[in-house]
Symmetry: C2
Subunit: 193 residues, 2 copies
């Protein structure tokens, strides 16, 4: 399980062996069964999580009682609740596994030490966060300006690996429409090309 993380870091960073060892030394690997929680509403998210295998989601139960999916994560993606992590506040969200998954956990105190000790790791993580921010700005723009059909098409284009392994009603939840609407939109979408 660690090998996946190791090759991820080797491909995406310029860390030396010693630095890699330091990172590996604070990582805890964990298996999650399908439907198992990694984080539940009300808990403080005191960790960062790297997905080695499987698929997870970060979602919230809204005032309407429905699930609203903020984010999916598959292999080589990071996932946590940043707001809870940053402020040590109870999370408003849940994280659970959509498939049996392997994840690597780094507790907050250890993770912050890594950032302090390894400048290249820090730069890498901040770069990652910057791109994550850009993606969320683009998603906001899409939410306020695009039709459902366009948003669905872009989702397929941007996340083909996610699209073909999570149920349609979850994509609907991610896009912010009802499953019935997405079903209809998608039929129309399939016909018009």
């Amino acid at each position: 399980m660690l090998e996946i993380f190791a090759s991820y870091l080797k491909e995406n960073t310029i860390l030396n062996q010693e630095e890699l060892e330091e990172i590996f030394s604070v990582v805890v690997s964990r298996k999650l069964r399908k439907r198992q929680y990694l984080l539940q509403e009300g808990e403080v998210c005191g960790f960062n999580c790297f997905v080695a295998k499987g698929c997870l989601r970060n979602y919230r139960i809204g005032e309407d009682g429905n699930e609203h999916i903020l984010r999916f994560a598959v292999a080589n993606w990071w996932l946590s609740d940043q707001e809870s992590y940053n402020n040590d506040t109870p999370s408003k969200n849940n994280i659970d596994a959509l498939e049996d998954s392997d994840v690597l956990i780094i507790k907050k105190d250890k993770f912050e030490k890594l950032l302090q000790n390894i400048p290249n790791f820090k730069d890498f993580i901040f770069n990652l966060k910057a791109r994550s921010f850009d993606a969320s700005q683009n998603r906001i723009m899409s939410n306020i300006s695009d039709t459902v059909e366009k948003r669905y098409a872009m989702f397929i284009e941007n996340y083909p690996d996610i699209f073909n392994r999570v149920p349609l009603h979850m994509i609907a939840s991610y896009l912010g429409v009802s499953r019935e609407t997405l079903s209809r939109v998608r039929n129309h979408y399939a016909k018009t090309r």
Copy 2:
């Protein structure tokens, strides 16, 4: 104009006089007339901008030909196009002034040097970005789960200073609804309390 920036930094950071001087030395102040562009679609956003006075917006012309507002900025806020800034790519967005405004500009190369030279400034900026990211995650959640009325109420609550100085149709644009709909929603909103 610099005094506003100076007191902003003194209140929010733990920088010493020498570090402050270094920052001030690379700042360029600029006045913007109402309706004046700071950045136009297609340009590369090679700067960060601190608003000392006035009000700016970051918006995009969508495929539908309409303006869609991604973000407002008033005094003591930073504004730029992060995606364009980070990747040196042409911006898809425009930034312009909604009122006569005073802004402070720091060019990208100088800004990046500041981050390198002044660790406390770097930490401060990254903290800012983290909170900015959290805010955008919350906005996404609101977009996919809340009613227009709720989104409008939250906008007023979160950004009272913006709400009472920009026209309603721009708030509608920010929320992703037509001005007519927001007008109707707001009337209903005013009546039900």
